[in-house]
Symmetry: D2
Subunit: 375 residues, 4 copies
């Protein structure tokens, strides 16, 4: 693991998600840019001292020298955006599979380089757009893919949060600090941090591609350097229209990612904060409530459910689905087998490139006076 030392948020999430199914073991890490802190974090996590490295470079070099059955089998990158590229590149170049937090990189150039490298090495690369790991998101995708809603006409995807309504970056929040810092986050704030999740979810669920965007990007909190709110009109490749808005100044909102998709025959609605429910509305007949594990569901949904209906599965379980599928593919790669197609569904480097393009284009559109920017 690269990053995720004491006090980090997403590092702990990755560790719990990886641990849940008992198939992945944390064996080593470079948990901080500060070597001392890195080692302390590793010790706290119960790792032996010789596997707690001061830097990711040291980790990759030393692990590579271990016997194949002793060394780490993949690298998990959970650092801020500006430290995705270097460890990912080095891991791939040294033959390690990689699972990386989103967005893929600090800028488009890095993203394209990683894409090329993954292609060249043939290694397994996963990006943790974790919200696609929910069973009901997979059900929604399959329903649309199988034409149950007819041709898609309209998509509304929202990601309101409120936690940056005040200048939290000035009051000691480590999470706020790097996300609002152009040196660490890149050209985008909210649009990169959560807008990319919304973009990814919309394309994942509908199977459509965004072709044009028109964005209104704002900084509401005085003194902040990166966007904390964005409202975006979307055009999709099949002629569907859409709206994407993401915000970190929607005061009082927790983590309210949600999507509605309307086709000719019906619409569906999924809300991350009640993730086991998928509401499907039909033209001229009763709305249905699909629930994780209940009644006839697509096998892609059932395959990502662990416990019987009515026992709520949450964020960590969805995140763990990404890890489990990634691990399945890593194992297949190692064993030279073909992975089970049911467990190959996780976001790829190409999804990461699309996310980076979204960041680039949405910021450009925000500054543009013409209406539509090609995606």
């Amino acid at each position: 693991m690269v990053g995720g030392g004491i006090g980090a948020f997403i590092g702990g999430v990755h560790r719990m998600a990886a641990a849940l199914d008992g198939e992945i073991e944390l064996v080593c890490g470079a948990f901080s840019s500060d070597p001392e802190k890195s080692k302390a974090s590793g010790a706290e996590l119960g790792l032996p001292p010789d596997r707690c490295y001061g830097t990711f470079k040291e980790m990759i070099q030393r692990e590579k020298r271990l016997r194949p059955d002793k060394r780490m089998q993949f690298v998990s990158i959970v650092t801020p955006n500006h430290v995705h590229f270097a460890p990912a590149k080095m891991a791939l170049e040294n033959g390690f599979h990689v699972i990386c937090d989103k967005p893929l990189a600090f800028n488009m150039k890095e993203a394209l380089a990683l894409e090329k490298l993954v292609e060249k090495t043939g290694l397994v690369f996963a990006l943790t757009h974790n919200y696609t790991g929910y069973p009901m998101v997979k059900q929604a995708r399959q329903m649309i893919k199988h034409g149950e809603l007819g041709n898609i006409r309209k998509v509304v995807v929202e990601y309101p949060q409120g936690w940056l309504s005040t200048k939290a970056e000035d009051t000691g929040s480590k999470q706020a600090a790097w996300r609002t810092d152009p040196q660490r986050s890149g050209i985008a704030g909210a649009m990169g941090d959560i807008g990319t999740h919304a973009e990814n979810l919309a394309e994942y669920v509908t199977g459509l591609k965004i072709t044009e965007i028109c964005a209104d990007i704002s900084i509401f909190v005085p003194g902040r350097q990166l966007d904390d709110d964005g409202n975006v009109l979307l055009h999709f490749d099949n002629g569907a229209k859409g709206i994407l808005h993401a915000s970190q100044i929607s005061a009082g909102e927790e983590n309210n990612l949600n999507i509605r998709v309307y086709g000719e025959k019906g619409g569906l609605e999924w809300r991350q904060m009640e993730p086991n429910t998928l509401i499907v509305k039909w033209l001229n007949r009763q709305t249905q409530i699909f629930r994780t594990g209940v009644g006839p569901l697509y096998p892609e949904s059932l395959a990502h459910t662990r416990i019987p209906a009515g026992h709520p599965e949450g964020y960590l379980e969805a995140f763990a689905n990404i890890y489990r599928n990634f691990a399945h593919c890593v194992r297949a790669h190692i064993e030279g087998k073909k992975p089970n197609p049911m467990y190959t569904d996780f976001p790829l480097v190409g999804d990461g490139v699309r996310g980076m393009r979204f960041i680039e284009k949405v910021i450009a559109s925000g500054k543009s006076k013409s209406k539509w920017v090609r995606f």
Copy 2:
């Protein structure tokens, strides 16, 4: 009453709303453009034959000749858009107060003429943007007005319906037929029919004015002449940003008008289909559920509630609040008294002019290649 004959929808709504409080009596009408049908409708409604008129002209002329204590006291106009102006103008010119369905008129020119005429005559004129009649909408407005949410930053207003997902205008739906016909509806379809409600609600609740819009207007159902979907970015006069979308092809949606407003200190959320609930979300403290009639509420909210908490009040009660307040002001006008300020809250001709401007601008923006259109 002008319009609202047998088979009409909104005419019946107006009659029920007017009757609810026992203060308004239907005394005469010209219920259809077809004189025979008009009289038949009047008879069915239990009116004496001599008060069932063939045309609104006849109605206004004859009623005017009746003794003041016998004649109608105001005119209620519930016709399609292209028949708002003529009866409203004639009624005002003949000294009758007017309550008129929205949008105000067929086009901007008519709207401005009516505005001038209302000003000149000093008569009472109400426009039935009925959704502002709900007690929880009034509570929301007062909370924002009193600064409870702080400065407003973001507004999301939605009005999805699904009933025009298919070409209902070709299968005998009278409601669909005139709404999708440019000769009767005007230059806009969904944006005029329901987009104006959304615009009105957003300005009513926030107390802000829209200053710029950027619209993506669509016709999804093949062969339809007017828009059936629109997504709009909004700028408000205090710097707030917003999104308005309205649709009649959001398959499976009933009449799902809703609004969310976020300020510096918190956000609020109201949904027309559960109108007795107002959710108020706070920065760093628990969300509150405000309910019609429960706990401390602003007097403006309580004054528009009829029954104790937990006894749901619906669409007709909200509509009746517009009628009751209008009637209160008509009575005050007749008696030469000042109305009770608590009961003067209903949409005015100026709100109607803003609605017409919204129609004009949103259609223009939909056709424009430049991003922002001044409102």
Copy 3:
């Protein structure tokens, strides 16, 4: 109208419900046990002085002497429980149809006498168990009647309120005062006031009859004389089991009447505070949300809906359905015609007798040490 003077709650409800459809006109009344107050109330309601009576006796006697086309056509009784019997009896004996608030009477003896009198006179008698007037309640009843849930096994009906959590009867609440007074309310408090609604709803929706009860009846507020809470186990005539609980000390609850019914094939759930939604849960397939006016519904439900789907209909509309059907039957009686079977559905005197038996038995069971009391 008997009762419902200034300051009363249910009188205003009856008037609004009666006015809504424009088919019923308030023509006279004895609005208070205090003749002066009665007349003042009538004046405020806009009645001519000669139709504002000092007492119900005077009203019935004088109205009877009017020409049939001038006199009132039925009597609406909206007084506290101890003043139901006398005006109802006198009205019936003088040939007037009666619509009466629930519970039917002060005690069982009165109830049975009224039942006999209705039978003897052949007049129309309605009891305003208004909650059965909701379109979704009618849908639920029809679904069960048509066997959609299979044989019914379990019923849970609840009526929690919180407004008597403190001794409101001592602080000037007129509503609280008579409801907690054995001289005016009868032997039961909450169980009579709202428990009877729950009992009526359960039998109406399921079509079953309660055969045995086991009750735990409590007075929680010190010094109160009548029950403010009751928990009751139920046995039904088909072998189904059930639970009924009603409370006026469930602090924080508004008027949360709700029912769940489970059969062999599925279950349904209806909540009065969101009355346009009926949730139907199926064994091994997706839950459905039935909504007022949406999709295929039983004609009995559609016939009690006034406006299109998504325009919420509330308490007054449901109450008005009782009045409209009652008025339809009164008119048919007067005209000597058979009423339309679709509009004959309202609670009858027999339902009122069952309600009185419920009161009698539930209080008896509450005092009994043996488990089951025959109903």
Copy 4:
């Protein structure tokens, strides 16, 4: 681990819950009463062959002989009810801490023996009444404990499921088979399997003790030997009244455990299927929605939350809270330290004894003709 072989439900839950926080490692097991199957299950779980035992006896004996730092540190018992006692007893007698699935034992005698043994050995014993592990359940408990609702008056606890609406035990469901079999389940079916969870939750949240019950226990599915539905009136030690109902024939219900508690000042409501929400209703002021991790919460709630607000935590996370606290106390015991009081909250053997008493009394009351049975 004892039990939880291939095809079992709760064994997998225990393993995921134990793994989540990376503090507990599965080191050995006797996963089935069939030694071959036990070993196969262990192999599939990645255990070395010499730690996959044929029987729990073998496991306990052999592990005991290992060096303290190599041997298992506690035993997790996830077998059907009739195989709780023997392995628990043997583990305790051999110095191993125990975490055991509920109900505690097959009958009261076994339960009391275990209680005595735990007391005697001083070992750590946890019972997985996992629903008390949810952060919002802990918040509810603390709010009541701190008097926020005032003296408690009424408790309604429900546990409806529908999965035994048909005779699933005859169609190959292993889960259904042992739960409906008196030889493996004991004297109760639904009341033991889920009624005990409801009883435990009610006492945990309120801090009250049940003193008397009056039960109506049913078998609805023909041919079934144990109860599949029960409705129970409750009396609590402070004078509060309550209702508990649990059912496995509430067709269409998933796993709908929920509780409502009403005190003098307000009420609260928690539903397991949306576990991150706690609704608190107040007398005469707005209802509040408490959410996991949002706003001021009691430290006991926050200490059992892993990820930021809006990232839903589910069943496994709550279950893992029991494991984490148990592991904390085991570690403290081993290290001879005092555990952190914040992490000592998990169900104890005494809670298990109360659960067994509930089973005994509720079945007795179901058969009794007198109303109240002392608890």
